[in-house]
Amino acid sequence: MSNDRSDDDAEQKLADRCLTYLLGEMPTAERAEFEQQLCDPDVASLFERESQLLLELADAKTHSPAPPSAAAPPSNAFSATRRVGWLMALGAAVLLLVGVAWQANQSGDDRGNGSMELRIAQAWADSPILSSDVLGDELGWTVEDDGQDETDELTDSIDWMVAAVEVDNVEDGRNDG
């Protein structure tokens, strides 16, 4: 048992010397003596292994001198927080898209209905023939006191119809000319 340990210690010491030599830190006097030892196949074998290890280390990714917080391995709490954050952002994005789509749909309907009403209202405002007097004259109707309500109601409904026809005429006129 103790022999194994002393063998291990001797091997570690020899490996340390190999590393010192490979790193160019061995004093010149000691170096010549060590180089003589390399003729021994066992020493050469251990030296070869140490060379390989050093090359691998030179090529490996080691920890960069980052701040201590970054140096710590990522914890589960951090990962969970980040995951929740991503989910929340995703949810918000979906809600936003749905909202925008719904609003666009609504405004499209409103625009369709509203434009017709607006055009009719403009026709009402612009066209002088839509006054009740002229309308009555043209249609050969006389507004009497008797049946006033009924006439007004009829006139109103006709007015809207005439206005709609007027709008169409205006549109046709624009298209034609």
């Binding site: 340390d16 060590f34 050469a44 080691t62």
Partner: protein
């Protein structure tokens, strides 16, 4: 190639030649060590010299971009590969002589055989490094990848030199054991 180690150093070389000078100086420094190392692996002095020249030529032609701290290790790794190639060629030659067949070990075959092993080793080392504490990882990185001296590391970290040396030694011991166990 016998004089490949000698060079004129007038101190006015452009950067690329400066790198070559660095490699030449390094080769001169480790040439006795390389020779001893190859002596342990090859039977004849002439084979040792042949391999040594091949290693020197490879270093001067490729001048790989690796950290200064790992250049000696690279030279010895190339020497080890060349020694292995010598034995493989010899084995092949013997087999050819025995069977009168024709077979050549190509460089591609050699590379393909080593690639998988190299990647596995690199993965193992990477895992072993990640198990070290961040402070120790930092010391290993500063020494091996950034080529700082231990004194410079101690100064930069504000840590006693002895502590830095101890941490480095323990880290290497740990990495070494894992490397050895799985090799």
């Amino acid at each position: 190639m016998s004089d490949s180690g000698s060079f004129d150093d007038d101190g006015t070389q452009p950067p690329t030649e400066g790198i070559e000078v660095q490699w030449r100086e390094l080769i001169e420094e480790v040439r006795p060590g390389l020779r001893s190392f190859l002596t342990a692996k090859l039977p004849q002095a002439a084979d040792v010299e042949d391999c040594l020249q091949t290693v020197i030529l490879a270093a001067l032609e490729s001048r790989p971009q690796i950290p200064e701290s790992a250049r000696r290790a690279w030279l010895f790794r190339v020497a080890s590969n060349e020694a292995a190639l010598y034995w493989r060629k010899k084995k092949t030659t013997d087999r050819v002589l025995e069977k009168h067949g024709q077979y050549h070990v190509t460089a591609d075959e050699r590379t393909a055989a080593n690639t998988f092993e190299t990647k596995e080793t690199a993965d193992r080392i990477q895992r072993a490094i990640s198990e070290l504490s961040p402070d120790v990882q930092r010391i290993v990185r500063m020494r091996i990848q950034e080529n700082l001296t231990f004194q410079q590391i101690a100064d930069q970290l504000g840590t006693p030199l002895g502590t830095v040396l101890t941490r480095m030694r323990r880290a290497m011991e740990r990495l070494r054991n894992q490397f050895k166990d799985q090799a």
